[in-house]
Amino acid sequence: MKKIINHPSRPERPTMWRSMEEFQNTPEFEETLQREFPAGAAVYDESGLSKRDFLKLMGASMALAGVGLTGCRRPPSFLVPLTQGVEWTVPGKFLYYATAMPTRLGAIPLIATTSDGRPTKVEGNPLHPYSNGGTDVFAQASVLDLYDPNRLKAIKREGASTDAASFDTLIGEIRQRGEGLAVLADSANSPSRDRLRMELKVAFPGMIWAEYEPLATGESTAAVVAAFGDGTSVRPNFEAADVILALDSDFLDSTEAGPSFTKAFYQRRKPEQEGRGMNRLYVVENHYTSTGGLADHRLRVRACDIGAFLAAVSVQVASLTGNSALSSAASAFPAGTTTFDEVWITECAKDLASASGRALVLVGREQPAPVQALGYALNGALGSLGTTLLGYNTGAAPKVATIEDLAAALSSNSVQTLIILGGNPVYNAPANLKFAELLAAMPTSIHLSLYEDETSKMCKWAVPAAHYLETWGDTRTLDGTHTSIQPMILPLWNGVSQLDILSQLLGRPRSEGPEIVRETFQQRVGSTGTALDLAWNEYVRTGFLAESAFPAAALSLNTGAITAGIAAYQPSPADGAEVVFLKSSSVDDGRYANNSWLQETPDFVTKLTWDNAALVSPADAAELGIKDGDMVEIVAGDTRLECAALIAPGHADKSVSISLGYGRKDVSALMQNVGFDAYPLRTVATPRFRKGVSVKATRGPKYKLARPQEHQSMEGRDLFREGTLDRFKKNPTFALNMGMDAHLPPEISIYNNPLFQPEQMAKEQWAMTVDLNVCNGCNACLVACQAENNVPVVGKDQVIRGRDMAWIRIDRYFASPESSLENPEMVAQMITCQHCENAPCETVCPVNATVHSEDGLNLMAYNRCIGTRYCANNCPWKVRRFNYFDYNQRPIDKLYFGPLAPKGMADSLKMSKNPNVTVRMRGVMEKCTFCIQRIEEAKIARTVKAGASDKSKVPVAPFKTACQQACPSEAIVFGDENNPDRLVSKLRKDPRGFTMLKYVNARPRITYLARIKNPNPAMPGADLVGNINTPDHHGESHGEAPHGAIDPHGSPAPAAHH
């Protein structure tokens, strides 16, 4: 009997949607859904050659070529051993080294995996006190940067290659001249660089040392200095925070503060936790961030109104707590004209005040300093200082000049030599400084850079920089822990580090090893001889110096300075819309623009790849009369930016957000025609937002945006499930029986397959759980998977055709029970192959290329696959990916070249591949394997250890899949579900757990744990929070259709729950 599956119907107006087309149910969207594959997926190329034509042609050419040619002999290959063995090196075995990737505010501690001397993958360093073993998307993708064939490979003088000797001569001349020296550096948090800088200051007393990071301007430091004095830093203590108010603060973004920053937040987010209850998160922001997606209550407020909003909250809290200091600081805040939701503010303030000592207010680091300082005053009034907001003594750091100071010095002609260490100021310096013109006038300018970028081209000298995986170095994580950076490989293209250049400037001989870093280390630990050797070895081995974090310091609020700062604060009075500058989730501030993995990683909110776009609210879009991809013109002062627009649900009105870092010109083929450059709109005074801009629709042609999100749709089924804390407490298994799942008849098999015997099943049964409560969709798993599994990139054009290859996709839904676009919830769900026990893909494969293993994996044998794509067709989750082209062998702009066109990948890219995973060719299907290479390695390790004994029966040692290892919020858990000692076996039975599409009875091996929201019942719209699923079947509209004879759910069996 054929089982008839009744799918739930798609609601007229969805409460959960992924794209504007789906929300509006347009005819185009309907057509997309009805297609098996996205439009054009079966079309061979631009000429419109269909698959049928293609087969005809291929048949003819096969006949011509004849079969005789296939008999050619295999070419000879060679075994090339080392001439001398290298310590610890075993050919074919991975070696792991502790290192770290410096970031803007700190560093990400890492363990680098090297395979025969090549770093191929990085993981977080779980030993490090400021890490939980997670990483972020940029750390994962940094391996590709190392091998990027577009890197600067030789020292260039005015565009022509030159040798190291002439550069040495130049340094000698600079040393001789002695004066007129200026250095502009990026932030590295490196103790060694600081030490060399101090020595340079002595050697060149007139030297100007400036530091510039486009996304770490001085505002946050200025606020801390005003509130708490110099030499202090503050960090939130989420462990103690019950109620959190985040204002324009994307604090869950692990690139900002390191993955361990939010560990405690996620611990307190668990609804089951013992002791302290689940925390509550209020988020106020102008555009959706990944943090906003996790909020219990979220309010759209323009970035320029955050200050006024904070003042309004402060006034309420001041009156509730009777804190006069806060009251005077808040009332000093210049009154704005914008009105806010009064009830929201009052109730939020009440909640904060009632949680005094357990409340925390976070203000975005790029907000103006007086606003952030007011935030500290509010924290003071809430009793947060020393409880939820902890102070640390960083010591008085010597002052560095800002880029404005440097620009002033450059224009006064007091500088003859400018050395730019990293960064790309010509592209990303504040527009009003006109940095390019100042640089062009420099007699001597040197740029140390990974790429020959805008700044390198403008400088007289361009010097290839060493990647952090190629060089010795040191850094400090956000908590101050001294962290070592060690090279995994010799510089591929003669790159030099910043430390090398600085020490050369000091007239020291070029060091080959860690001398510079070791000297800094010696000064820090103060020991000598064997003790120093031991300490140094430990430092390099573990990757950090124990107990070197900043010491805790009591915070005392300087209310006078805060109030004075606020009183002096004059926000721009300009009216009109604001434009907000965002950090790109793919290219950061533009530094990763040449990284194709990142370019193809969809932004976690807009799902946009290979581009950025101006985000406008649905109301603004309606007013402008634009749709996704229409061109708009943003005019600020005398600067105009024409760019594509994207409608962003949950975006504030009269506000436009745009990511920085795109629109690079003439740097590399990869960066060409990718996005729009928003830096020209950004000035010294407007680092985060610029007021008084006008936005108007231009009648230009529609811009093609590549968004993989639209390719697949899941039609109004309860795929993502959430509920409130109250609901969870009343009925912990509420998620299990949502929607259709409440009515599933028992699965009875009328045929006992004699081939299917329990004893044929392996001891291990692999399974995964994903906790939707803590997944914010940060993309780290996606890029980790790409690095681990040699997943190729396909380019914008192919993404538009729906041929993206990423094995993991993160579905982002906007959801609102009222189907409102104004402020819907945003949820993220990581989807990959579900390894169904009854896998629909396996039954349709004509050549048995996809089969099941006895340990519960849905396998994919590439060498068997003939590319019928039936499996992808039959996959309910649409997680299978097909190699339409030889993505590994052809550059993405040459995919359509004929069979005789040159093939092959750059040598350096070959080095980046994981040797344990097959590099797939054209014409085969692929998908998530649950990291079978790691599973097999673990099983082999167990068997090898057992040797001539039956110890091969012991459980496989625990290991992690690539996505699990990268996840900074520990949302992904993988393991053997048959082993009761493994976390996964417990979580698979978790009350919050549910599997997707249970009614098709595919029995997925991935369990999702429902998201729990903790709304404040007094807040406006609280009844809508955590309520995005289709209404519970029970108690509603249930009386009419009795179960039994005419069962609406396609089964003659009576439903089990009555």
Partner: protein
Amino acid sequence: MANFFPKWINWLPLKLTICIAVIVTTLVAGIWYYFTPKYTRVGYEPDQPVPFSHVIHVEQLGMDCRYCHSFVEVASHSNVPTTATCIGCHGEGKIKYDSPKLTAVVESWKTGRPVQWARIHQVPDYAYFNHAVHVNRGVSCYSCHGDVSAMPVVYQHEPQSMAWCLECHRAPENHLRPPEEIYNMKWKPVAGETQREIGMKFKQEWDVNPPVTCGGCHR
């Protein structure tokens, strides 16, 4: 009498003959090539840069396989020795340093450029073979490489095709031997015992259960 058959029929026998001849030739040629050891390269014996003789080193001098293939017990890849390993015995002033047969090794030692040995056994890129797991669990070098100790020049002894792999993975008892005899190329079961009996004993004692699913080798 009218012509029952159209004129082109006259050519049909010829056409058929040619067709059948082509098909038969292709089939014969195909089977000749693909169904014989020539395709699996059994007997492939390329010229090596150094005429290294396993007979001298193993059979006459009694060296263990693991002296040179030192990581076979711990790694997936059984390494070819580094030049330094050769030079350990054949260094300046030691054995046969000046022999013209060792030119490639001495050259490599002097210049630091590795010796390029011709590869004989090659598993396809999509198949992942692990030496360690085999030699630690009672499978001798002999089972896959033949009696290398008797080869003056190494050649491929076994087809190493997938069917050949599976033969053993389905019935490992035909190859399992005592752990101390793994590197003994001349080992034979003692009189009165058969390979199968010994193999079955070890298979049960050690819980030998080799994978026959795709994922065991293909990742």
